[in-house]
């Protein structure tokens, strides 16, 4: 397959994924909006879980099945597209929730519809103008409400490479990564990158323009949904069930079955512990820096302006491969070549890559945060009564700190499972565990590799749980 064919195929597939994903995510968002209290938290948590399943696990889990479809490549493509769709839908739901309201509100649209309907057929010219305005405003309304979510899902599907490589699904990312490490010169690789970067650039600029033009009131889509939807919880449960079984359940079963048989292999590969340690170091460093930087970006959001926001978020929105190759190009020539043997290029690239996600998380945490309740909890902390202070600590944790710590840990987790950037940029001796495992995956589903994957993928989960618990204790002690 030539690059042009691979690129066209990726474009087509990503469009289909974005459209299918949009339909499901709008429905999901409507259902989720109707839930409240603890139940809402529970279903939101489950809906977002697919986002956190590592591509490495999905690719490994489906590798053998994908191989069995070698005589039916279209079915393999369908399976791959389905898995990617399931993984991007939760992000679509999040973007729908975080998107500002469109400039043409639903009520305005409704009024326009009513006035168009009530015009007498005798007022021919006015009727036709009113209908044209109605169509144009209907389009504007839906463009502003839905485009950002669809665009983000398109971008994620367009940039995906890890599962594609392991499942042998065709696409431009897989083509470019394989050819580059196989000897394509940096100059040619960067030339080849121009078209995908342009495609993504257009989508990103359009989306950011729409987002910055929209009003920052509570999402209109959500308000409408709350009135129009019957709140079918089955929609959410069906999606969660299907996504978790397909993305985590089936691959997890493959890994667990192998782990049981191959645990002894871990003792023959003591370096895995070091490689896990390196992945943890990259995760904490990149995740922590991204969190701090995203705070600065959010606080300066007004001051930065549209161009400023685009400049800060654009590299990360281009995806790990495009940005990783850009950074690789920079550190291959003086004076930056001196940084090549340090962890700095990986950290910088991961921070840039994670920054848009961090901003999204911060916006979400900000939306969920009730400032007056936090202020009241802080006042309670100043009370002389130990019982009040204890209650204040507990409230502050729930209302304020838990969201931030959760956001930070999620970023660290994403940095941990990131594959493309360290593959391109990690210096000798600093290869994180996921990259090492990816390099071993040509062996197929063997028990030793399953055990190694299990150890590597459970480590961040355990560390996140311990950190959460540790931070909670610290906060309770401090307040």
């Amino acid at each position: 397959m030539t690059f042009s064919t691979a690129l066209l195929w990726s474009l087509l597939r990503s469009l289909v994924i974005a459209m299918a994903g949009l339909i499901v995510s709008v429905r999901l968002q409507q259902s989720l909006r109707l839930l409240s209290g603890q139940r809402a938290m529970f279903w939101w948590g489950l809906t977002l879980l697919p986002v956190f399943v590592p591509g490495l696990l999905i690719g490994y889990g489906y590798r053998n099945f994908a191989l069995s479809l070698v005589h039916h490549p279209m079915w393999n493509e369908v399976l791959y597209a389905l898995l990617v769709t399931l993984q991007v839908i939760p992000i679509g739901v999040l973007v729908l929730v975080c998107s500002p309201s469109p400039p043409v509100s639903a009520s305005a649209l409704h009024v326009r519809r009513l006035s168009a309907l009530h015009l007498s057929p005798l007022e021919g010219r006015r009727t036709s103008q009113a209908r044209q305005r109605l169509v144009s405003e209907w389009l504007r309304h839906h463009l502003f409400s839905l485009f950002p979510a669809g665009a983000v899902m398109f971008l994620l599907a367009f940039q995906e490479s890890e599962v594609a490589t392991l499942m042998q699904a065709d696409g431009w990312t897989e083509w470019l990564f394989t050819r580059y490490v196989g000897g394509l010169t940096m100059a040619t690789a960067l030339q080849v990158l121009i078209i995908p970067v342009l495609v993504q650039g257009i989508v990103i600029m359009t989306t950011l323009s729409l987002v910055t033009v929209g009003t920052h009131q509570k999402s209109e889509v959500a308000q409408l949904a709350a009135r129009s939807s019957s709140g079918d919880r089955w929609t959410v449960a069906s999606f969660v069930g299907l996504a978790l079984i397909a993305l985590a359940g089936l691959p997890g079963t493959v890994v667990l079955r192998g782990t049981w048989q191959g645990f002894s292999v871990l003792s023959a590969h003591p370096t895995l512990l070091r490689e896990i340690g390196i992945a943890v170091l990259f995760a904490i460093t990149s995740g922590g820096l991204t969190w701090v930087l995203s705070g600065l970006v959010i606080h300066r959001l007004g001051g930065l302006g549209r161009m400023g926001i685009m400049a800060v978020l654009l590299p990360g929105l281009m995806g790990s491969l495009a940005m990783g190759m850009g950074v690789t190009g920079l550190v291959q020539r003086p004076p930056l070549v001196t940084l090549r043997d340090t962890p700095l290029p990986v950290v910088v690239a991961e921070v840039l890559f994670l920054l848009p996600r961090a901003v999204l998380i911060r916006l979400l945490v900000g939306q969920l945060r009730d400032s007056s309740a936090v202020y009241a909890a802080r006042l309670l902390a100043r009370s002389g009564s130990p019982i009040h202070q204890q209650a204040s600590a507990s409230l502050l944790w729930r209302l304020d700190v838990a969201g931030r710590i959760g956001g930070l840990l999620i970023l660290c987790y994403w940095a941990y499972i990131e594959l493309t950037l360290p593959s391109l940029l990690a210096p000798p001796g600093m290869t994180p565990a996921p990259v090492v495992l990816y390099n071993l995956m040509h062996y197929g589903q063997i028990s030793g590799l399953s055990a190694m994957l299990f150890a590597s993928m459970t480590t961040p989960v355990v560390l996140m749980a311990l950190s959460w618990w540790g931070f909670r204790i610290v906060i309770h002690r401090l307040f």
Binding site: L67, Q168, G183, I284, T431, Y438, N439, G444, V474, R477
Partner: protein, 346 residues
Amino acid sequence: MAASDSRRHVAVSAVVIVIGLLIASGWYRVSTTTRDALVVYCAHDLLYAEEVLRDFEQQMGVPVVIVPDTEATKSLGLVQRLIREKEHPVCDVFWNNQLLGTVELAEQGVLEPYQGPGWQRMPDRFREPTGLWSGFGGRLRVWIVNTDKMHADVETIDERLSGDLSRMAMAEPMFGTTLSHFAVLWQFMGADEVQSWFRDMRSRGMQVVPGNATVKDLVAAGVCDFGMTDTDDYFLAQDEGAPVAMLPIRIDSGETICIPNSVAIIRGTQKRRQAEQLVDYLLSEAVELRLAASKARQIPLGTVDESALSKDVRRLSEWAKESVELTHLANVRREALEWLTSEQAP
């Protein structure tokens, strides 16, 4: 109350500083162990190579950092990386899982000569005359056949090769030992003939998959009936109890294709003494016997105690004696690679 707030700020700062110090000490530790270590670029399968290199670490007290190749580009990725890094070398020793890429590096001036005891025990056909590289532990290119689907004999394979090939698998010829195989065909059939042969095979539905292990998986699972792979992959399938058999791939002259590992010291290394120690270690009889005794059943190329070899390896050694000479195929490999790359040009 202000004092209490101030205490909290101090405590929060202390927690942040402690976490920062822990991260800094972690990076310091990783950096120092990496700085002192011998950097080995290793295209050989890590499951086998890592144990050998860790034993070297323990025996010689020389720390080793292993840089593996990517999953998709077995050996070619590291060869290209070494060429890119020629002016600012990072690697000290290159352990390649095949030969022609190493020959290419020698021609590009990336390697330093070393004629140690390991080099001396290898036959001339598996070492560079000035010591720029030396081969060891070979593998053969073989047909892997699913015996539930077809007979494992030359006649049946020839018959299948003349018809529909949708149930035959071959690894992507741009990479690994399949590229060496392709270079051999290029040399003996001629460029035009190989190109039309490959296009014809593809047009008849031959499955071109990412690697030899994938070929093995497809045939072992019965998804494909036969394919071209390496002996180490074949034995993995056999050991797992898959219904498979193998036959050596022979070119028209009847010769087999034996592809040795190769090892070389990178020009500009700052750890020459340790690099020599590793090269001697890898080229030793003990390591060749160890690779022969591994699941990969690699064929010793130097003189070894024959009684220590398994029946499987003795059979492979006989076939390896009939193998084609590879050392002069670097130019051919380059031509073949250029053509394969142009076939998939952007």
